[in-house]
Symmetry: C2
Subunit: 681 residues, 2 copies
C-alpha cells in the first residue's frame, strides 16, 4: 500500500470540495508543510509508517467514529470499550507489537491515546516489568500480553494523592497461611481514581503499606484479583465501582476500590527489590532511586500528550480563523478573515509556536534519557538529578501552558468554540487533567525548585555545573546589546535574556529562603514561606530549558531551506512572546531595559506578519487527520458551516421535532396560563 | 417565618455533625462573617429577605435538586424545563414580581440564574419594553407576563456574531399585504445560539435587516411566532432545532432557526424608534444611542454573574483546603491542612479577594448607572461615554479573571476538583461562556480602548476630564515613596501605582498608533497593528477601575470594626497581588522600582498570614447555601469524603454491578484470548 498524500492523510478525499477560503491560505505558504511534518516526526520514514498505520484504521468501517458528546456516560463507556477491544484484537492480527506503533494505532482509533484499557498496557505492564522478579514476570507478563486478564494500577486513595507516604491501605503478612491480607482500614484509604478500575479490570497492582512481623515497611506493590474471571463479579471482600462523571476522560471508568481483608498468596507481592520470606522476614531494596528514571520517561510522554492536544487546538482555531469572516477592518471593504486581526494572531501564533516547542522538547527529553540510560550501562548515574529535577517542572510548565493555550484557542473561535462540535471541550478536559495527574503541578515545581536550590548551593561551594546549569553562575551584570527590533532576531541575545531571568529568579528564591533561615525560621517554615518565589524560579528555569531544547532540536535536525527558516522564525517568536508575557521578570533581571522591551514588542509584531501567510501550513504540518482531530471547526476542507448544521441536526434533542417535555410540562403550563387569562377577561 | 441562622442559611441542619476540621477553622475567624454578608448585600434587610425566599425554595420538595451530571442532554433538558416552569408558577403563587427577588428565587431553584426560560424574562421582555410602542406593549407585554407564550431573542447567526451590521437575515416589507417577509437567504444567515430557541419557545424577537421600498435600512426587530400554540410544531416556513451539546449550559436548548419567507403582520415590527408606514415608507429613529445605556446594565449583571461563580469556586476550594490534609510541612508532624501551604494560599486568597472586588464593582456600576439615569431625566447624558466605554472592558476583564480564577481554584482541589462532584465543571462552563457572549472579550477591550484613545486626544486638546479619568493627565514622573513592605499598606500608594500603570499603557498605545499613522499607515491599519497595546491599555484601565470601585464601595459602606478591617486587608491584598501578577507593566510605568517590587512581594506574603485564619469565614460570608453551591467538596459541614463516596455510588455506571459492556464485549474478548492460550499449550 502506498503512503497517503498530505490531503488524504488529513482526511480529505479527492472529489470533495475544499473551501476556497482555506485553499487560498494553503497557496500562500512559503514552505512545504510536509518538511515540517518530517522534522517533527524525526524523518520521512516515520511519517510514512504512521500514515500507513492510520490508513489501516481510518479505512476500517469497524473504527468509524461516533460522537461521544451525544452519549451519556454509560453509552460512552460501552462504545469506547468496544472500540478498545477491537483495537487490541486488530493490532494482534496485524502483529503490531512496537510501543510507538501501538500508541499511534490507539490514537487513531480513539482520537486520543486514552483508551479504556490504557492502564493495562502502561502502568500495569510497567509495574510487572519493573517491580516483579523474572519468575513472577513469566506468569503475569504472559497473561497481560495475552489479555487473559485486564489490569490496572491502584495507588491514589480517596484521602491521599501525591504523598505516597501518606497511603493508608495495608497489606499484612500472615505467615500461618503464607498470605498477604489487603485491607482498607478507613474511608479515606479507599483507592480512588485508578483508570479502568470502575467496571473493566479483573486485576490490579495495588500499592499498600507492607506490614510483617508487626513492622510497617512502607508502600509496596501487590497483585490482586478484583473480579471473577467467570462472571466479572467482585471477588469476596472486594467492593468497587465507578467514581462518576468528570470534566474529561468521559469514556473512562475511573474507579474506587475498598478491600475488606482480601487475601492473596505470598508470591503476589512484587518482589524484585524487596522480599518477604515465608516466615515473614523482610529484606529491603538495595537501590531505591532506580525508579526515578522511569518518571522521566512518563513525564516526557505527558509532554507529548499535551503538546499534541495543543497542536489539535491550534489546527482547529487556525483553520477556522481562515474561514470565518467578521466585522470590518478597512471601512467599506468586505468582512476580513478573522485571521487578519492582530489580536487573533496574538491568540493563535503563540500557541502554534508553543506546540512546536513542546513537541521538540518532548523528543529532546527522550533523547537525553536514552543518553542517560546508555551511561548507566557504564555505571554512570550522574545525569539523573538534573534530568529528573528538570522534567518535574517541565511537566508542570508544559501542561499548564497547554491547558491555558487551549482555552485561548477555543475562545478565539468565539461561540462556536463553546460547542462540543468544535472538539475543544473534549480536548481541554483531557489535557487539563495532566496538570493534576502524575504529580500535581505545584508539587512538581517545588520538586524542581529543590533541585535548583541544591544546585545553587553546590555552585556556591565551588562545584562544577553541567553546561546547561552553568547559567546559574554566569555574569549577572551583563546587559543586552540590542538597539533595534531586528537585533532581537539574534537567538543568542534571546537565550541570554532567558538565562539572566532564570538566574535572577533562582537566586532571588534562594536568598529569600536564606533570609528566613537567618531570621531564625526552621528550614520547613522558610521553605513554605517562599513557595511563591520557589515556583517562579522553577518556571523561569523550565522556560529556559524548553527554549534551549527547541533550539537544540532544530539546530541538530536536517531540516533546511524555507522550512528551516520557518522554524528559525518560530523559535524567535516563541522566545519574544515569552519575554513580553513575563516582562516583569525579564526587567527584574536587569539584562533588558524598559526601552528594549518596547523594541521586543515591535519585533514580536513584525514577526506576526512573517508567520501570517504560513499559519495554515504550519498547522497542516502537524498532519492530524480529521478522524483524529474530531472537530467540525477544524476540518481539513474548511467546510465549517454546513457541517455544523449537519452535526446539530443529528444531535440527541433533535431526534423528535417536539420534545417529550412539551407534552409533560410545557403544554399544561401554557394551557393553564391561557385559561387563567381567559377567566380574567 | 423567622429568618434562618447562618448555619441553616448555608444548608446545615441542626443535629447533623460538622467536620471538626472546618469547625475549628470557623472558630479562628477574627470577624463575624454575617457582617460581610450584610456588606455584600447592601444591608441586613436584604440578606434576611433573600434567606426567607431561599428557604421557601429549599424547603419545598418539588425543588429538590437532582444531579445534572448523571443525566444525558435530553434528561437534563426535560428535568430543567420542569423545574423552570414550577419556579414560574410558584413565583406567581407567592406574588414575587420584583426583578431582584425573581432572580434570587430562580437561582435557588436552578443553582444558577440560567433557567430554561431565562431569555423570556430577560432579553425578550427587555426588547418588548425598550423597542416596542405603548400600543404594541399592551399586547405583548401582557402575554409575556402571563406566560401564554414563551419567547426568546434571536440575533446571532451561524456566520455572524458580534458584528451586528453583518447580519444577513432579511425582513422585506410587502405593502400589498402589509406584511413583513422574514427570510434566511443563506446557510450562514441561520439564527444560531439563541437560548431556549431549540425546543422551548413559541415566539422570538428576531433581528433582521429591514428592507422596504427597495432599500436596506439595517437591523431592526420583529416579533415572529415560531411554533404552533396548538401542538408546538414549527410554523410554516420555520425550521428550528437544538444546536447540540456544549461546554456549559448543558440543560439549555440553544437553538438554530431558518426562516423560509415567513410572513408577519406589519405591526409585528418593533416600532418604538423606527417605523414602516402601511405604504412602506420608513422613518428613522431620532436618537440611536439610547440603547447603549441598557448594555451598561446587562454588563453589570454579567459581572455579578461571574463574581458569584468565582465566589462559589472560592467557597468550594477554601472549605476543601481546610479539610484536606496532605504531605508534610514540618518533618515528623502530622499531614497539615493544605490551606497551610503558601502555594495553596496563593491560589485561594487572590480569588477570594477578586470575588469580593467584582461583587462590589458590579454594585458600584449599577449605582453609577442609576445616577446616570437620574441625570438623563434632566437631559444630561454626559456620563454615558465613560460608563459605556469602561463597562465593555470591565466585562471582558472580570469574565476572563473569573474563568481563570475558577480553574486555579479547581486545580487547587487536586484530582477531586476534576470530578463533577466538585461542582467545578458545571460552574466553569457557565462562567467561561461569559467571555464570549454579550460581546466577545477582545472586541470589548478594543471598544474600551477606543474610548481611551479618544479621551487621551481630548485631554491633549485641553478638554477637562472627569475625576476618575483625570489619571490620564497626572504627573507621570512621580515616584513611589514606599521604603518598607508595610508602606505598601497605604492605599493611596497602591492606587497611584495603578494609575501610573494605566496611564503608561494608555499613552503607550496611543503613541504607537500615532507612530504608525505618522509612517503613512491608514487609521484602520494602524489600529489593527496595535491591538496588542490597545488591549493592554484597556486591561490596565479596567483593573484600576475595579480597584477604585472596590475601594469606593468599602469606604462608602457602614461596615466597621473587625469586619471593616478585614475588607481593608482584602483591598490591599487584591491590589498587591495585581501588581505582582503584572509586575512588568508596573515597572514600565516607572512609578515602582525593582527594589520596591521585592518589598511588595514581601508585603503580599505578610498579608497571607493575616488572611489565613479568616479564610473560611471570608467564604462563609458569601452565604451560599449547599443547594445553590451544588458541590460535594464545598459542603458547609465539610463532610467531604463520605459524601464523595455516596455520590459516586449513586452515579449511573454503578446502577449494575457488572456493566452491559461485559456481556457484550469484555467476556467474549477474555474468553477468546484464554482459548487461544489454551490452544497454544
Amino acid at each position: 500500500m502506498a503512503a497517503t498524500s498530505t490531503r488524504e492523510s488529513m482526511g480529505h478525499s479527492e472529489g470533495k470540495k475544499v473551501n476556497p477560503e482555506i485553499e487560498s491560505e494553503r497557496r500562500k505558504a512559503e514552505f512545504n508543510p510536509l518538511e515540517l511534518t518530517y522534522f517533527l516526526e524525526g524523518g520521512q520514514e516515520n511519517t510514512e509508517k504512521r500514515r500507513l498505520l492510520e490508513a489501516d484504521v481510518f479505512s476500517d468501517p469497524q473504527f468509524k467514529k461516533e460522537e461521544l458528546s451525544f452519549m451519556n456516560q454509560e453509552q460512552r463507556y460501552t462504545y469506547s470499550i468496544r472500540q478498545a477491544l477491537r483495537a487490541i484484537k486488530k493490532m494482534k492480527e496485524l502483529d503490531i507489537t512496537d510501543n510507538k506503533q501501538q500508541w499511534i494505532f490507539k490514537e487513531a482509533v480513539h482520537g486520543t491515546e486514552e483508551s479504556n484499557l490504557s492502564l493495562h498496557s502502561s502502568m500495569f505492564l510497567h509495574c510487572i516489568y519493573s517491580q516483579m522478579t523474572q519468575e513472577q514476570q513469566e506468569i503475569w507478563l504472559n497473561a497481560a500480553f495475552d489479555y487473559t486478564l485486564i489490569g490496572t494500577y491502584a495507588q491514589t486513595e480517596l484521602g491521599h494523592g501525591t504523598n505516597l507516604r501518606g497511603l493508608e491501605t495495608t497489606s499484612t503478612y500472615d505467615p500461618s497461611t503464607q498470605e498477604f491480607v489487603l485491607h482498607s482500614p478507613t474511608l479515606t484509604s479507599m483507592k480512588w481514581w485508578p483508570g479502568n478500575l470502575g467496571k473493566t479490570v479483573t486485576h490490579a497492582i495495588v500499592a499498600a503499606r507492607l506490614i510483617t512481623q508487626g513492622k510497617d515497611h512502607g508502600t509496596h506493590m501487590f497483585m490482586v484479583q478484583l473480579r471473577s474471571l467467570e462472571d466479572h463479579r467482585p471477588m469476596p471482600g472486594v467492593e468497587l465501582g465507578d467514581i462518576g462523571p468528570k470534566l474529561g476522560f468521559s469514556n473512562i471508568d475511573n474507579g474506587f476500590l475498598r478491600l475488606n481483608h482480601v487475601r492473596v498468596p505470598r508470591d503476589h507481592m512484587c518482589m524484585r527489590y524487596s522480599q518477604v520470606a515465608p516466615d515473614g522476614t523482610y529484606s529491603a531494596p538495595s537501590n531505591s532511586k532506580l525508579s526515578y528514571g522511569s518518571m522521566v520517561v512518563i513525564r516526557s510522554f505527558l509532554i507529548d500528550h499535551v503538546a499534541v492536544g495543543l497542536a489539535k487546538g491550534a489546527v482547529i482555531a487556525t483553520r477556522y480563523s481562515a474561514v470565518r469572516r467578521q466585522s470590518e477592518l478597512i471601512p467599506g471593504r468586505p468582512e476580513p478573515r478573522i485571521l487578519d486581526y492582530q489580536s487573533q494572531q496574538m491568540k493563535l501564533f503563540p500557541q502554534i509556536a508553543t506546540a512546536y516547542a513542546f513537541l521538540v522538547c518532548g523528543d529532546q527529553l527522550k533523547e537525553r534519557y536514552m543518553t542517560y540510560l546508555s551511561q548507566t550501562d557504564e555505571g554512570n548515574f550522574s545525569a539523573l538529578p538534573e534530568l529528573h529535577g528538570t522534567t518535574a517542572g517541565v511537566k508542570a510548565f508544559s501542561t499548564e501552558m497547554a491547558a491555558n493555550g487551549l482555552e485561548i484557542l477555543r475562545m478565539a473561535c468565539g461561540g462556536h468554540g463553546f460547542s462540543a462540535a468544535s472538539g475543544f471541550p473534549e480536548i481541554y478536559g483531557n489535557v487539563v487533567a495532566a496538570c493534576t495527574y502524575e504529580g500535581e503541578n505545584t508539587v512538581m515545581h517545588l520538586q524542581t525548585a529543590r533541585f535548583l536550590m541544591k544546585t545553587v548551593r553546590q555552585a556556591k561551594e565551588g562545584a562544577k555545573l553541567t553546561p546547561f546549569m552553568s547559567y546559574l553562575t554566569a555574569n549577572q551584570r551583563e546587559h543586552c546589546p540590542a538597539r533595534t527590533p531586528e537585533d532581537f532576531m539574534n537567538i543568542q541575545t534571546l537565550v541570554n535574556a532567558y538565562r539572566h531571568r532564570a538566574r535572577r529568579m533562582v537566586n532571588h528564591a534562594e536568598s529569600c529562603v536564606q533570609e528566613d533561615l537567618a531570621s531564625g525560621k526552621s528550614h520547613a517554615i522558610a521553605w513554605n514561606n517562599n513557595h511563591l518565589h520557589l515556583i517562579a524560579a522553577s518556571k523561569a528555569h523550565c522556560h529556559l530549558f524548553i527554549l534551549d531544547s527547541f533550539l537544540h532540536g532544530v539546530e541538530s535536525s536536517e531540516c533546511e531551506g524555507a522550512a528551516r527558516r520557518m522554524l528559525d522564525t518560530l523559535i524567535r517568536f516563541y522566545a519574544l512572546h515569552g519575554i513580553v508575557q513575563n516582562k516583569g521578570e525579564f526587567l527584574l533581571s536587569g539584562y533588558i531595559s524598559v526601552e528594549q522591551l518596547d523594541l521586543i514588542s515591535k519585533q514580536l509584531i513584525n514577526l506576526l506578519e512573517v508567520i501570517r501567510p504560513n499559519a495554515v501550513a504550519l498547522v497542516d504540518a502537524f498532519d492530524i487527520h480529521d478522524d483524529r482531530l474530531l472537530s467540525v471547526l477544524g476540518r481539513y476542507d474548511g467546510n465549517v458551516y454546513e457541517n455544523l448544521y449537519k452535526w446539530a441536526k443529528s444531535s440527541p434533542l433533535n431526534k423528535t421535532e417536539v420534545p417529550e417535555a412539551y407534552q409533560l410540562y410545557i403544554k399544561p403550563f401554557l394551557e393553564e396560563n391561557r385559561n387563567r387569562v381567559q377567566a380574567k377577561l
